[in-house]
Point group: C2
Chain length 337, copies 2
């Protein structure tokens, strides 16, 4: 299998991207293609020992930045690392595309170059959400579609279930719909209609889920629009960061506490790693015709390494084809409304 | 001043409600009226020493439960503690109504009995949000209106600013609009229009705020629809609970850690209290013609006590009149669109 990595995307490109790719190459036999400014990437590569047959570089003269308007950038910067990289998946020369670049542009490139899976109205970003001490849930959509219709949310639920079952090996993943109460009459018009659609599906729909139960692992697939998903993801990040900072302050305040803090330093580190997105790999863009994974913009080498390694089973299990196969059932449910 | 407390609302009524009222009476000279089943409330009161002239009981034969449909309950259970209690504010016999009962019914009772402030389209629930180590922000709306129009959000911002300035003494409170990015072009159609309205207002609008910055105290008044507000509030509750549990588990695991945990027990307790809603008092229903405060359904005596004591400046500062005075400016902004 060949994995294409956008060498120029993200806050720490190309240094951390290249480092992460080298680290990943030591743990897999698959080939890694780094796309981007050849001179810069090779200059980074020379810092490391690695199997030269396993990592190759494809030159791209342009870079899509976070300031670029996504659609325009994908249309005009045709020699960018992102567009060239995703085209390698399109042409069949690679099996997986990974980027820490402009999220909107990754979505746009996925849509325009690979195309939507027929029958999927809106592709979505599926982010792993840490359930402390118990693995992860999948949050779909976590930011691609701020406004959604019931059929979009049904599709997110179906695509997320396939991903959890096939890639993360969760049998019959429990699907929950984020709502302001558990009763089926709760929430907006869109959510009430979505509840009905989900009930009719063959998915393991457990009903509405309140936000307070998400961190406890109330369900495997957390379904919501991209606005709410973005709020959930970012609030979790901000709050965890804040609590850990406060713990550190409290525990280093006063003499006795200092002794305690020393004793507990290792434990605090463990706790921090539970919230560290770089441990969990990236977020697949579900619903496009190819395996595309988006990384956090500030990804370090560890995040890049984990995203590459955790992306392999995603490309291998052919989730894209399975989503394609599920579309017929979804359309029957939507039409019967 | 007279404070009416719904003696029958919430998971721990009437025992904890009565206990909290007694505790509050020791710290204020204001009169407290407990409304509800006279026999039950008096039986609880006899457990305590208190100033009999300061706490009186008004009998109500019915109770609105969490299972009741809010509007129907308010219309039909006219001898309920909630309806009778809020009527005491309506008639001018009391200045503040507090309840831990059915949130929808409190909203409905506020709307039907007290009425909306003229010019305010939708009243909202304003919850205090703990900024660790730095006080609180105000989250408006935190659950009353799942779907909102731009003018609703503008009104929430204005009402929240008045509350923060007059009751919590924050000068020129900074108003932030919850969005998925800080740029003014981000988010839904409703949010883009709201951004424009807020820019035109005399409020101290600092722009869009991402969810990750809310726990850091990015602004004093956090404006969002009731769906997003409910997600923010409940996710914070669930996540904080989960992290503290994990800390406790980690710190009591292993011999060395046990020693550390003992040393740090006090610090952990401090941390827990930062997240304890019972310390912060209740959530005012802004936009109705009278001071109404909703408490958490599982409020204990401490929460009841704090809600009563923190509700006093709310009723005293006459926020209702100030909201009424601000309506003209809001209408000018909305009409000019």
């Amino acid at each position: 299998m060949k994995i294409v990595v956008d060498g120029m995307g993200g806050d720490n490109a190309p240094a951390e991207i290249v480092k992460g790719a080298v680290e990943a190459s030591a743990q897999t036999l698959h080939e890694i293609i780094l796309v981007g400014d050849e001179t810069k990437i090779i200059s980074e590569l020379t810092k490391y020992k690695y199997n030269k047959e396993q990592i190759t570089v494809v030159h791209a003269s342009e870079v899509i930045t976070n300031e670029d308007a996504p659609v325009k950038a994908v249309r005009t910067k045709t020699d960018s690392s992102m567009v060239k990289g995703i085209n390698l998946v399109k042409s069949g020369d690679a099996d997986l595309f990974i980027s820490a670049g402009n999220t909107g542009a990754i979505m746009a490139a996925g849509l325009f170059i690979l195309g939507r899976i027929q029958g999927i109205d809106r592709p979505a970003i599926a982010s792993t959400y840490p359930i402390l001490g118990k693995g992860v849930s999948l949050l779909v959509d976590s930011g691609a579609n701020a406004e959604c219709k019931p059929n979009n949310l049904l599709e997110f639920a179906a695509m997320g279930s396939i991903y959890m079952e096939k890639v993360l090996n969760i049998k019959k993943p429990a699907v929950g719909l984020v709502n302001i109460g558990t009763e089926e009459t709760k929430g907006t018009t869109v959510l009430k209609a979505t509840y009905e659609l989900l009930t009719k599906s063959s998915l393991n729909f457990i009903g509405n889920v309140e936000a307070r139960d998400i961190p406890k692992g109330a369900c495997d697939v957390v379904v919501c629009d991209g606005f709410v998903g973005n709020v959930i993801l970012k609030l979790t990040e901000g709050l965890a960061w804040n609590i850990l900072k406060l713990i550190k302050n409290k525990f280093t305040d006063g003499m006795l506490s200092k002794v305690g803090a020393l004793l507990l330093a290792g434990k605090l580190k463990e706790l921090k790693s539970e919230f560290d997105y770089s441990e969990y790999g990236g977020a697949p863009i579900l619903g496009v015709k190819g395996a595309v994974v988006k990384m956090h913009g500030s990804s370090n080498a560890n995040a890049v390494k984990n995203t590459i390694l955790k992306g392999i089973p995603y490309a291998e299990t052919n989730v894209v084809q399975m989503i394609q196969n599920s579309v017929l059932e979804l359309e029957e449910i939507i039409i019967s409304e």
